[in-house]
Symmetry: C2
């Protein structure tokens, strides 16, 4: 459907183009810069974030072009001819470092770093943020649901309420986050995600009786039928009819797969349904629920011992309803070897200057203890201390029982992909496995423990000397 011959360089905020032209016309086009992509707060008051969107973003970087049509458009807006000539041959020739897709990441550490000339690095800003903000948000939201479901299955039913074509990358990100499948057939095909679905109320209504509708469906899908039982009356009609169908299927050597509850009190109804099914020897028939679910409702249902096997989550997942945007930013950290600082009255908003890398510190159980941001030239093995970014007396000693782990990978080098992207399935497996290394105190929903992201002495000192210099200049 979407044939991407190239990725349009116009997929960007207009000011990236006007700025780039200005860089070009003021002779700055070959200045080397470093930009960091990071966010300032974990979403949802969460204790962690799941990094997603990397592969799509990098593919867009590598195919970022200006077609003749794009250039004609810019010309019609009065862009300079020499600059348009420059854009005609535009290919990203810089380097990109990032966390692996699916990794657990935290606020105020670079997730991705771009090294390049000022124009190529600037032009990518909007697209990188657009891709990574959304997919990271959805992967994180889904991970919360996955966590709340305590081993029960979560599936993505969000397509109809998704923000337009966000449905596609949203379903992909939800799979990384922990969804076991999606109702979005297009995403299922393109990304190899298991497609999930049965029938709607309209199927039931298209027959004179619920029983007839159930029976016809079961005849067509004898081994994969999930019956929606709430069209007329869940307890008096839907479940009794589903039980009859299950018995009918048994008589033919088949098994009813599941029933689905889509309205009413899901805790009460799922318990009633489980009891009615079990009393009829149908312990194998699963219970699927849907209807405005989110991680808190999943948590509450399981807390009430609701015997639910599968949670179909729609709107709240695919739009990340409780917080529909991640506050990811893309900030200049260095230009022509000079570290840059964006000052702010708000201490938390002051960036980390310089060309940096991120390392993770694992404790003796191989679990995540804290992350460290270092200057690029530093060797982590010489780091004995990681410091709080602002408060001088807050520091963590790196003792001999701790070990550093590489988390920041080179993805693109001088315009060439030097990293092999794993399959989506492998990203999901990696992500769920990584999650086990995150101690539980960071996973709880209420007041999660705050994960430390420390600075090396050198970075700390650099930042503070630049802050001091800024304050003296005032």
């Amino acid at each position: 459907m979407f044939k991407e011959e190239y990725f349009s360089g116009l997929y960007t905020d207009f000011y990236e183009l006007t700025m780039s032209q200005a860089y070009f016309l003021s002779g700055k086009k070959d200045e080397r810069v470093v930009f960091d992509l990071y966010f300032r707060k974990n979403p949802f008051g969460n204790g962690y974030t799941i990094f997603a969107g990397l592969e799509d973003a990098i593919n867009a970087v590598l195919n970022f072009r200006f077609s003749e049509n794009d250039l004609n458009y810019l010309e019609s807006l009065g862009f300079n001819k020499d600059f348009l000539d420059y854009l005609k041959d535009f290919r990203f020739q810089g380097s990109i470092y990032a966390f692996r897709e699916g990794d657990v990441v935290f606020n105020n550490e670079p997730l991705l770093k771009v090294e390049g000339n000022i124009i190529e690095a600037q032009l990518l800003e909007t697209m990188l943020l657009n891709f990574i903000n959304y997919q990271t948000l959805i992967a994180t939201k889904t991970r919360r649901m996955y966590f709340a479901a305590k081993g029960k299955t979560v599936v993505d039913f969000g397509m109809r309420r998704a923000q337009g074509f966000a449905a596609i990358s949203g379903s992909k990100a939800s799979y990384i986050g922990g969804a076991a499948g999606t109702s979005n057939t297009y995403a299922a095909k393109v990304f190899g995600i298991p497609p999930i679905g049965t029938h709607a109320h309209s199927w039931i209504q298209s027959f004179k009786s619920e029983y007839e509708a159930f029976k016809r469906y079961a005849d067509i899908y004898p081994d994969s039928t999930t019956l929606l039982v709430d069209t007329y009356d869940t307890l008096k009609s839907g479940i009794p009819n589903a039980i009859k169908i299950a018995k009918y299927l048994e008589s033919k050597g088949h098994k009813l797969k599941a029933i689905r509850l889509d309205s009413g009190d899901l805790a009460y109804l799922s318990k009633k349904a489980r009891k009615m099914l079990d009393e009829n020897g149908l312990g194998y028939v699963k219970i699927v629920v849907s209807n405005q679910l989110d991680e808190n409702i999943i948590d509450s249902l399981l807390d009430q011992n609701a015997p639910i096997d599968i949670f179909g989550v729609g709107t709240k997942l695919i739009t990340s309803y409780s917080q529909p945007a991640l506050d990811g930013v893309y900030k200049l950290a260095e230009i022509s070897g000079r570290p840059t600082l964006k000052f702010s009255e708000n201490t938390e908003k002051i960036n980390l200057p310089g060309n940096k890398k991120v390392v993770r510190v694992l404790n003796e159980d191989n679990n995540f203890l804290l992350d460290g941001v270092l200057l690029n030239e530093e060797n982590e093995n010489s780091i004995k201390l990681l410091r709080h970014p602002s408060i001088p007396f807050k520091k963590t000693e790196i003792t001999d029982d701790l070990k550093f782990e590489k988390v920041f990978y080179k993805i693109v080098e001088n315009g060439k992909l030097v990293y092999k992207f794993p399959t989506l399935k492998d990203v999901r497996d990696f992500s769920l496995k990584r999650f086990e290394q995150l101690p539980s105190e960071f996973k709880r929903f209420v007041n999660p423990h705050i994960y430390r992201v420390g600075l090396s002495d050198k970075l700390y000192n650099l930042r503070h000397s630049l802050i001091e210099r800024r304050l003296e200049n005032k």
Copy 2:
């Protein structure tokens, strides 16, 4: 970038396909149905909604196909060969009626109606909802900002925080809603929306001094420069430097266009900035503000007499942050001439049965008074009464001073487009003009008046007889 040779029939919830196959295999494929698309609540507690997404949705309907690749995928999932043959030739052959894009619409009235065979009508459900839910939501959210701005300019700066590719249709919908331009260059090009943008903090930081950065920018864009004044210190550095630049530009026969405030207290800073500019004879320099704006902040700023000319709105607009999904649904209203009812304990959730149309009643001032839902066969000129859907004694008499207006148009007839879509600019103009016919009591943010959507006697009686029949069967 996105070359749409066709619109994939897989852009749908998987259950639409399993149901369609079941319709096909149970010999129901030629049954005629009517589906209504509507929503149950205006978003944001609003008193109205702006309908958007129609043209994109209809284009997708007319190009809805299953490619060989799509069919191979379905075959790999075990779909039936005869059904796949049927899908191979799939073309929508039904008819679609809808409000015009940009019109003011209300909850619980059909926005769009599909007549067709049960498979073609069912298969479109997810896609229609996906397109119309999001674009309608964004157009409505933007209209609230447009309304709050009281004639000042609102522009869309949301791309980097948009939910992935939602950025594209979101910018389009925000233009319909009332935004005067967008930072999204891709959408600007494709839809002919004015592109907006100047420079970021990184431009300033790439120079040794703010003054030098401003001057270089002004030299390059002498007639269209907006200077971002908050990189270092808005009042002590940014605005004084901008004033110097404005004077410099004047000396060359040019004019500084605007300054932009992107942090701090925007009410305080905009007043200070206006005063400083005016004292220097720079009354023509406009003030642009951005930073987490929404309709309430715009309202509050203007309430404080903040002298702001242009509001750049990002995250809160493009994600519809305060409510990121519209609850649009698509319900079976008739099958084989039989009106259908989806019963619910919740009275508001019971649908309107039968094949219907919508008309609008205008008062003597040509303003919107109420809408009426009628059975299709009814002539509105014979309607003397419109009734509340549930409460028998609530009715509105249609007196002679009132007149009916056509609001529901035939868009597609037997698979052919029979409606000429206006340009996007015309949709926006139409939408803003229509908005003037909506009395102000429906526009206020706090407790807006509830617009009436009444039923004809015939539809009321049909619905109530079906409800009674359902209750008797229980």
